[in-house]
């Protein structure tokens, strides 16, 4: 083996250090998830994985903990997945056509429409949370998937990103399509969407993780165990003194909670890389 050139040693050292910092807590969570509760509470906790990972995970997935009134983690994962997917897909589905309208069409009050969308950027969910809650309550959206997702779908970020991308599409391409006889709808489907593929993939990743990590809104708008999301669920599992905190199950849940976002990133990253390579030239 030829030893690595000197110049490669420092970057690798930095990368490995970063990796250790990021991975160590996850490793600890994994170890804790593989022991029984007494083993965890018997300080110092062993850093060698134990034999109970599978059984703990299965228990969390299908039975839940006492603290969450027995809501199985599988149910929470499902709720979170529905919420994250609905937010990601809903936002893209709304913002793509609205950006298309703002960029490619001349209609009265176009500027006003754009600015109206733009201004909502300055009003994130946290700022308008009370009125939003009131509306959701009046529309009886409490404890429903619509209530969980609809208020979070309405936002301007994705519209702005698509608008910026659409502005880079040359006018001549639009004109060529006009002469080719492609109407606005066909131009959107045949040209704009295929060209936006990588942007859509990037947004999907960002929005999925945004939806998955929501805490405040689900906390307000849901109160039945059946509608609990994984993030809320984990918070509920941590006891307040009435009963033992089942750390081995919480840690197993944490590991489970990491998996879907990771999967989304890994799957979509292929698209990123492909998009980056294709954008060359």
């Amino acid at each position: 083996m030829v030893s690595a050139p000197r110049s490669a040693i420092v970057p690798h050292a930095i990368l490995i250090a970063g990796l250790v910092i990021v991975l160590f807590p996850i490793f600890v969570a994994f170890v804790a998830a593989s022991h029984t509760l007494p083993e965890i509470l018997n300080a110092p906790m062993s850093l060698v994985p134990g034999p109970h990972f599978l059984s703990n995970t299965i228990e969390a997935l299908y039975a839940g903990t006492v603290k969450t009134s027995g809501t199985p983690v599988a149910r929470m994962l499902f709720n979170s997945a529905v919420m994250a997917l609905a937010i990601a897909i809903g936002k893209i589905a709304i913002s793509l056509p609205s950006a298309y309208a703002v960029v490619f069409f001349r209609f009265p009050l176009r500027r006003t429409c754009f600015w109206a969308i733009f201004v909502t950027l300055m009003l994130p969910v946290e700022v308008r949370i009370m009125p939003t809650y009131r509306i959701a309550a009046d529309l009886s959206l409490i404890n429903s998937y619509a209530g969980l997702t609809l208020p979070l779908i309405a936002s301007a970020t994705a519209t702005l990103l698509f608008r910026q991308f659409f502005l880079t599409i040359p006018d001549e391409l639009v004109e060529a399509a006009k002469i080719d006889g492609a109407g606005p709808w066909r131009f959107l489907v045949d040209t704009v969407v295929p060209l936006s593929k990588t942007n859509i993939a990037a947004l999907f990743v960002i929005l999925f993780i945004y939806g998955w990590n929501q805490y405040l809104w689900p906390l307000l708008v849901t109160d039945t165990p059946a509608m609990t999301t994984i993030v809320i669920g984990m918070r509920q599992m941590i006891g307040n003194g009435d009963a033992e905190t089942e750390w081995q199950l919480i840690m197993a849940t944490a590991i489970l909670a990491i998996l879907p976002p990771t999967a989304v990133v890994v799957l979509m990253q292929r698209w990123f890389v492909k998009g980056l390579v294709e954008a060359e030239k």
Binding site: A176, I179, D180, E278
Partner: protein
Amino acid sequence: MATLTLDGLRKSYNEREVVHGVSCAVADGELVVVVGPSGCGKSTLLRMVAGLETVTAGTVSIDGRVVNAVEPKDRDIAMVFQNYALYPHMSAYDNMAYGLRMRGMAREEIRTRVERAAAILQLDGLLERKPRQLSGGQRQRVAMGRAIVRDPKVFLFDEPLSNLDAQLRVQMRVEIKRLQQQLGTTSLYVTHDQVEAMTLADRLIVMNAGIADQIGPPLELYERPATAFVAGFIGSPAMNLVRGRLIAAGVEVAGGVVPLAVAGGRGEPGRPVLVGMRPEHLEPAESGPLSVRVELLERLGADTIVHGAAGGDGIRLTARAPGGFAPALGDPVALAIRPEHIHLFDLDTGKRL
């Protein structure tokens, strides 16, 4: 096969008129080139014909049908853009086939047409490639192919060769000419390159600040430019345009007196005029009416371009001499010109006298 008629075509943007009434009839199968400097309104003119800009006043007719209010796709035209405007995510084949699919043409017919166009344009074997995998010249051909497969009544070219390097431009220029003759499709071609315009055109429209200064065959424009602008724009190196004064014996210009072909009839003696003399018509002579001191030589092999100063008031003349002609810098050179090669223009209006 079709005719294209522009009648008093005007275009204004917010009260500001940029095309001031252009009329021209393009005959069936004719290639008319619109040429002019940037900002002269030539592209706007083409875009009005394509239907990409609304017409402020006047009419565009294709085959006698006024198409002012007709959508671009229904005008039966095809356009080749400067940056090709190929769909980046589609293969060359799909780029050419797209317009046909939009018209609901049968798959087999599309295949036949695209393959025929590909054969004409030597694109066989490249049809599966995406635009980014093609060279500039190949992309240009795909853009042409997209126009050809439609078999339209009128081809519109918007500076199609501007993005190519010089060598390829000359080659594609010839190909376009050949193709247009072969297909016999009525064409309107916009360019700012006067050489391209001269070589391609059956007839030329020289645009100057929104006005068609002159419309005619290339050689007529070269031999009898209607305005000083056309005179200076057509021909390379550009025509010498210097101030002069009519006198009884001819015209007094650049410190010499040059006889005129037609004595009188071009204005009373004493009238100041603009005198145009093409460099290729100024010939070094033993003794000429004009004399310059050589300032710079451009030796091109076949020709030598002589840049010289005439008289004392900084008038500069350019002359095209044979390749062997090699005076030293600072030497005086006598130049002669035949009377019929003198062009005279009104000093104020620029109109030919």
